[in-house]
């Protein structure tokens, strides 16, 4: 056996040597920031030092040539330091205001949009999809690319009432996370079981335990140990699919896309909120998912037209009420919008507060 090298368990690297020198110098000493134009921030430290940040959108899944282009721009037009945001935007820091415009020009020339700050629609937090996930109902990078093409103007401008965070997820596990608008796969049919494979591939008790509604039970099918599903109980979440791939939940036609709104991670104003289902049944339609884009744009247009300044999506909806949200967006309200999971009564209207 070949001699193996033991890993050096260093964990998360120290960012200090990598920080822009002004960020390192003024670490913990910032007192103010300004937003001179979309995609640009100016931070001021207590000693008067100022640093300008230029934020650009990226495709997140980047080839080394793209990354090297971003590095070339950092070396020529900035100070050789960058950082990435939670939503895969890249940020360049410069110590001199005069370097901002040439940096923006270079990024634009290389095809990177400048924006994503303040009241814009930022880059979509997204998942892996068909490119790399083992349980995807749809793609992620493709949905994101198609949607960001449509929302490009809203990324490079700051015309929304408050910031808008989007996410996409390629199954109901929702790795994309909570967002003002979330685009998430919604399965509509119970899994189809390949009984020939279950016994060899799946740890059956673990699969039974995984089901949120106890719809799965062990069974003998054609003399082989397998699993069966009570299809009356099954709500098609797909939780059984990761531990048991023969329980195929994906289907080219019955896998649909749902849209959720009103998620907010920030504690600013109201407490953080989960996004809520507003529409479903949209087709999983690559390569550009036009039906999804149409609904997202419809919701954004209603929010942009009607919300007051500093109202996030959920702040706006809490003011106008859900009935008017459905009215203003033109989205249908159905029995599927009424929650029946545990704790659901908390979501019902226990009052005579009705908007007319």
């Amino acid at each position: 056996m070949a001699q193996h090298r033991s890993p050096i368990e260093t964990g998360a690297p120290d960012p200090m040597p990598l920080l822009h020198p002004l960020l390192r110098k003024n670490y913990g000493k910032w007192i103010y920031h300004d937003h001179p134009r979309p995609g640009v921030l100016m931070h001021r430290a207590a000693n008067g030092d100022q640093v300008w940040t230029v934020k650009a959108g990226t495709q997140r899944q980047m080839d080394v040539y793209t990354i090297r282009t971003l590095c070339d721009i950092a070396d020529t037009y900035a100070d050789g330091h960058v950082r990435f945001t939670t939503r895969s935007n890249i940020e360049y820091m410069v110590a001199d205001e005069a370097r901002v415009n040439p940096l923006i020009a270079a990024l634009n020339k290389a095809g990177f949009p400048i924006g994503g700050t303040a009241n814009s629609v930022s880059m979509i937090a997204h998942t892996q999809g068909w490119l790399h996930c083992d349980i995807p109902g749809t793609d992620a990078s493709g949905v994101t690319k198609a949607l960001m093409d449509e929302l490009h103007q809203e990324f490079i401008n700051c015309e929304m009432p408050n910031r808008v965070k989007l996410s996409t997820s390629c199954c109901e596990i929702n790795c994309g996370g909570q967002a003002d608008i979330a685009v998430i796969v919604q399965y509509t049919k119970p899994p189809k079981i390949n009984h020939d494979l279950v016994a060899n591939v799946c740890e059956r008790p673990a699969v039974v335990a995984r089901c949120p509604v106890a719809a799965i039970r062990p069974a003998l099918v054609n003399g082989k140990p397998s699993l069966e599903i009570d299809e009356k109980k099954c709500m098609c979440c797909g939780a059984c699919y990761p531990p048991c791939p023969p329980m195929q939940i994906n289907d080219p036609d019955s896998t649909k896309i749902a849209i959720w709104v009103g998620g907010k991670n920030s504690n600013a104003r109201g407490k953080p909120t989960f996004h809520k289902l507003v529409t479903s049944g949209l087709p999983n339609n690559p390569p550009r998912w036009p039906e999804v884009a149409a609904v997202v744009k419809k919701i954004l247009a209603a929010y942009k037209a009607d919300a007051r300044s500093w109202e996030r999506m959920i702040d706006w909806i809490e003011r106008i009420g859900w009935a008017r949200f459905f009215e203003k967006t033109g989205l249908p309200f159905t029995k599927y919008h009424i929650d029946d999971w545990r704790g659901a009564r908390r979501t019902l209207n226990a009052s005579n507060h009705i908007r007319f």
């Binding site: 890993p7 050096i8 260093t10 964990g11 998360a12 690297p13 120290d14 960012p15 990598l18 920080l19 822009h20 670490y27 913990g28 910032w30 103010y32 300004d34 931070h43 940040t53 959108g57 495709q59 997140r60 899944q61 980047m62 080839d63 080394v64 793209t66 050789g80 330091h81 960058v82 950082r83 990435f84 945001t85 939670t86 895969s88 095809g111 997204h126 999809g129 068909w130 490119l131 790399h132 749809t138 793609d139 690319k145 198609a146 093409d149 490009h152 995984r210 949120p212 979440c237 939780a239 994906n250 080219p252 991670n265 504690n267 600013a268 104003r269 690559p286 390569p287 550009r288 545990r342």
Partner: protein, 435 residues
Amino acid sequence: MAKKTHDTPMLDQLEGGPWPSFVTGLKRLAKDNDMMVDLLGQLETSYQTRKGYWKGGTVGVFGYGGGVIPRFTDLKDEAGKPVYPDAAEFHTLRVQPPAGMHYDTKTLRKLCDIWEKHGSGLIAFHGQSGDIMFQGIRTDKVQDAFDELNENGFDLGGAGPALRTSMSCVGAARCEVSCYDEARALREVINNNLDDMHRPALPYKFKFKFSGCGNDCVNSIQRSDFATIGTWRDNMQVNNEYSRAYFKAHGMTDLVNDVVTRCPTKAIQVMKKREVKAGPQHSVAELDDEHCMVIDNKDCVRCVHCINVIRGGLLPGKDRGVTILVGGKGVLKIGASMGTVIVPFMKLETDADYEKLKELARSVLDFFAENALEHERVGETVDRIGLVNFLEALGLPVDPNMISEPRSNPYVRTDGWDEEVAKWIEHKQQQKSAA
């Protein structure tokens, strides 16, 4: 030169439009990389059939039990051979980024060179847990790629039932609302528990996240089992120069509509300067020669909305630290849940303070390892056993800041009432003597 590329009519449609195209990047790599030629072939097939074709397996590096996401193609022909053989193995290395995701170009170029040499040349900055995802490598190259990354100061992240890679916001590096050293907290906590990351043996995944203030830019409350969110105890700081500048630019209507009425606890009043009777709990910000904004810090919940609007005019106080919340998670199995408060305030300034945070993090991990059921997130454990049992196991005192409201049902046995009251009185006395 790589082998001939496959036709990709669906993916080609994702090359147009103003947003940077990942497809163009994949094609660029495919010019001299057979793995990417075949990756494009399989991805195009997914676009045509609307199905995924990856399955997991077991791939790792010597000494670690996790951190590599194995992917083997499931797209086979009738003879059972991969339709796209050069992408038949397409694993991902999850690698922990520097806290705050700061890089210099030398480091980024080095990462590119290593991945070009051993892998596909496709890198995601970053995955949803914060990892740098080096995507696309054959099984036999995984060890070499890791060794070279590791020699250059990078370490694998978490996968499976393990401590996961963490994230912290930009924080103290470039934000005036930062309430502690987020990057330090991340590294102290995560790097103290690497055994649980590299050798997965927990009941299920466990995530820590670190946000410098209530804006929670890394979404810690919803995306982590243990959320550390910056806050402060004393009065908000005021900078009259900046508060006056805001008022001059925006006027009274914006101030009222965007700041005063948006305060969730109505802690802000606009007052005539001569009428202000500021007590020790008030912050008073000048607006002009006549008007002031008076904040009652006892009513303030540190939501940071007013700080976001009146940039620089209002800032966190000086007595800073963190609120710690436990139990945030995604959908499976009980439904998405937010973290809830287990420590309303913990000072985070001195070495001893960070040591205390590390100890608490380790105790929560130990409790989780010993008490959670298989495939149960700690939020589900708390759901199952009740917050009180969780707090008692950790030796944390109950506090009214942990609830939205007290119970509204009588279904509780209260024959320990007097003992609990005694605990409360003792806790209050301890707090008083500590202050």
